[in-house]
């Protein structure tokens, strides 16, 4: 598909911004200044100051002579960059691919976007008018290449849109300055009498190269579309993304739900066709005042079910604050995986491929109560009770080893063993009774000891001798003695579980 670019040139971005925030300055000559050596020099002048002859690089004292009422502000470095970045982020509502072009422009890759606004002309008008209404003095142009759009925004004199393939025709009459060259190259070109781009195009390339260097040819080719130009986007473009501009700002839940359904339909059909499913999705509402409101969901298993995903989002819709309304909705799927029906096999026949109920149930639960509530365990090759199981990483992961069955393990295991008082006859014999929470349990039957040691390379505590004991009432406990018997010291006993 052919590419189309919109270039927006901010002629006085910093002073416009100042005026926006201090409307009183609207009709005054305004400059920004920075110290250069021991004098102050004008770095930016607004339109009114320029009409009085104030130029960039002029000493502030001289400028004051021209306009006594001149307002001078300190130029903060990086201000322009910050503003451009902010505007570029805002412009993501019109196309996912936006880049900033320092010091005074932004580039929008509008390929495949303008038709959503009814064509390039309304699209262009929408963006430019919005920026002008905010208070920025901008000029823009649309062309096949970044270079041509850049040139046309600054030097173009007719309609702002260069039709596809027409960039050479449009550019030949423009000055070589429209090629984004440095001052030195421009002086050289002027010296040899090259007054417009047409002159350069007509020159044989082998004579241009040694004289003006690679830069000139590169810029020329980029402007004409012979050389691809790569721009650095402010936000990476998600490959799975759908957007929906609204004719009027959306305020109601019903409206948001309709928008969400439409976007889900588009995205899910695409995912289904490609045999993929999404693992996470972000639904963004671009508000009239420029703020973004986001809802995110995650799924346990790749899904393209419109119904299921809608349910997950629907629960979160109340979190959105429409304020004056949403203009554009965007649905992205940052995490996409192959959708494989084989994934169901572990869970047996009850859940069929078409109803991945378990995964959907878990999504509904985690969506509301947090992702950390779901636990599934697999056996681990450790004997130590706390380490004998590990968390499964996914719903599909199968146990690597068989579950140990040889030795009894209590059905209820205390998180932390609790100390008990024990009467035990001689070492390695099971105790006769123990006292737990003030109650005396007379032991009738016992199994053990089962010595459990930590692996020596991770061992930090003493080994444990476990006994399964049954008291007179028939209740069973898992108790252990910590470490060896040492003469003169009372052995420490703990209760660790219930059978």
């Amino acid at each position: 598909m052919e590419e189309r670019y919109l270039y927006i040139w901010f002629r006085h971005i910093t002073t416009d911004w100042l005026t926006r925030h201090r409307p009183a300055l609207k009709d005054t000559a305004l400059v920004l200044s920075a110290s250069e050596g021991n004098r102050k020099v004008v770095t930016v002048a607004n339109t009114i100051a320029q009409t009085h002859g104030i130029r960039t690089g002029m000493v502030v004292a001289d400028a004051r002579l021209l306009v006594p009422s001149l307002e001078v502000f300190d130029d903060k470095p990086e201000l322009a960059k910050k503003l451009l970045h902010r505007i570029a982020t805002w412009a993501v509502r019109y196309t996912p691919a936006v880049a900033i072009d320092l010091p005074d422009g932004i580039i929008l890759n509008i390929s495949g976007c303008a038709h959503l606004w009814g064509g390039e002309r309304p699209y262009f008008r929408e963006i430019i008018q919005k920026l002008i209404s905010i208070g920025y003095d901008v000029r823009g142009a649309i062309a096949d290449t970044v270079g041509a759009a850049w040139a046309w925004a600054r030097f173009g004199n007719r309609t702002p849109i260069i039709e596809s393939g027409q960039q050479q025709v449009a550019l030949i009459t423009l000055s070589p300055a429209a090629l984004r060259l440095d001052a030195e190259a421009l002086i050289k070109l002027r010296k040899v009498g090259i007054r417009n781009i047409g002159h350069i195009v007509n020159q044989p390339r082998h004579s241009l190269l040694p004289r003006f260097g690679k830069e000139l040819l590169l810029r020329l080719d980029q402007a004409l579309g012979l050389e691809k130009e790569i721009i650095t986007l402010v936000q990476p473009v998600e490959p799975y993304q759908e957007r929906l501009p609204c004719l009027e700002p959306i305020l109601t839940r019903t409206g948001i739900e309709i928008a969400l359904t439409r976007l889900l339909e588009l995205l899910c059909h695409r995912l289904k066709d490609e045999g993929k499913g999404l693992r996470s999705a972000v639904f963004t509402g671009h508000r009239v005042d420029g703020a973004l409101q986001k809802l995110s969901i995650g799924t346990t298993r790749a899904s393209y079910s419109i119904k299921h995903l809608f349910k997950l989002f629907a629960e979160k819709i109340p979190e959105l604050e429409p304020d004056l309304g949403f203009e554009i909705f965007v649905l992205e799927a940052p995490k996409v995986e192959d959708h494989s029906p084989l994934q169901e096999s572990l869970w047996g026949g009850a859940s069929t491929v078409d109803s991945p109920t378990l995964a959907e149930l878990l999504d509904r639960l985690t969506n509301k109560a947090g992702a950390d509530i779901v636990h599934r365990y697999l056996p681990a090759q450790h004997h130590w009770p706390d380490r004998s199981i590990r968390l499964a990483e996914s719903l599909e992961e199968k146990p690597g080893i068989a579950w140990p069955q040889a030795l009894p393990r209590p059905i209820h295991l205390l998180h932390r063993p609790e100390p008990i008082e024990v009467t035990a006859p001689i070492p390695d014999y099971p105790p006769m009774n123990f006292r737990y929470k003030g109650k005396l349990h007379i032991i009738q039957k016992a199994d053990g000891p089962e010595r459990i040691e930590d692996e020596w390379w991770i061992q930090t505590v003493r080994h444990r001798d476990y006994y399964v004991v049954e008291d007179k009432e028939g209740s069973r406990y898992w108790i252990f003695r910590s470490g060896h018997y040492i003469d003169g010291q009372a052995a420490r006993w703990f209760l660790h579980g219930f059978f």
Binding site: S351, T357, I373, H412, E473, G497, F499
Partner: protein, 244 residues
């Protein structure tokens, strides 16, 4: 004369069951838990699987006994495939012990939420979704409305629900189909073999809808329930010896 009267009464009882929406379980649905004499207490002599069962516990020991008994039931339900969901806000259950009760522990998904309110919500969500073998929720208190909601969810999804109610304050009637109390019992040594014997429970069915309450002794031997019959309780020597 009396037999015809009994026949009429039995037929009328069946009619009542059907009118109450208690369908006769189809043979395909029926799961044999090996509960033996307990089955006679249930309507149609079949353990109701499309139902919510509650288990009342009164101490840490009975809680563990109930967990074991439920695990045994769930293990039978899971033999047909499908996952089991165990929902709790303060879980002591040790996954690696489930294998003794016939449950592959990796087929159990534990939902550990923060409070009782969330447990109840998660149980309802789980019981409403189809294709699960069993849902176990550790719910302390449940009122009539909430239990009715769970029962309705179960009737739609045909999942079996188990509620473990640890030391509840409110023991009023609710819509659960059966109320159980499981207590540990002293095991019986086999052939004077030293050490603890097979797990043994006192199983009480305190309340069952359209059935009769009762109390039995039950053992867990070699991966299945084994009713302890009064005569058998004496002649333990006949039982095959198994060292676990």
């Amino acid at each position: 004369m009396s037999t015809t009267k009994n026949d009429i009464i039995r037929r009328l009882q069946h009619d009542i069951l059907e009118l109450q929406g208690f369908e006769k379980p189809s043979p395909a649905d029926a799961v044999d838990f090996g509960l033996g004499p307990i089955n006679t207490s249930f309507p149609y002599q079949t353990f109701p699987t499309t139902a919510v069962h509650e288990f009342i516990t009164e101490s840490q020991e009975t809680a563990a006994a109930s967990a074991g008994f439920i695990a045994g039931l769930a293990g039978h339900l899971m033999q047909k495939g499908g996952a089991c969901i165990w929902i709790s806000s303060n879980r002591l259950l040790n996954p690696s012990a489930l294998i003794q009760f016939g449950i592959p522990p990796e087929q159990v998904v534990f939902i550990d939420v923060r409070n009782q309110k969330q447990v109840l919500w998660a149980v309802e969500e789980a019981l409403s979704s189809e294709g699960l073998a069993a849902v176990i929720g550790e719910v302390k208190e449940i009122d009539f409305t909430a239990s009715r909601r769970l029962q309705l969810a179960v009737e739609k999804s045909r999942t079996t629900g188990f509620l473990v109610r640890d030391r509840p304050r409110d023991l009023n009637a609710n819509a659960c189909v059966a109320r159980w109390r499981i207590r540990p019992l002293a095991s019986v040594s086999v052939d004077d073999f030293p050490g603890v014997g097979f797990t043994r429970w006192s199983v009480e069915l305190l309340r069952v809808k359209n059935g009769h309450a009762g109390s039995w002794e039950m053992e867990w031997i070699a991966g299945r329930f084994q009713p302890v019959l009064p005569e058998k309780a004496i002649s333990i020597h006949e039982r095959p010896r198994k060292i676990v």
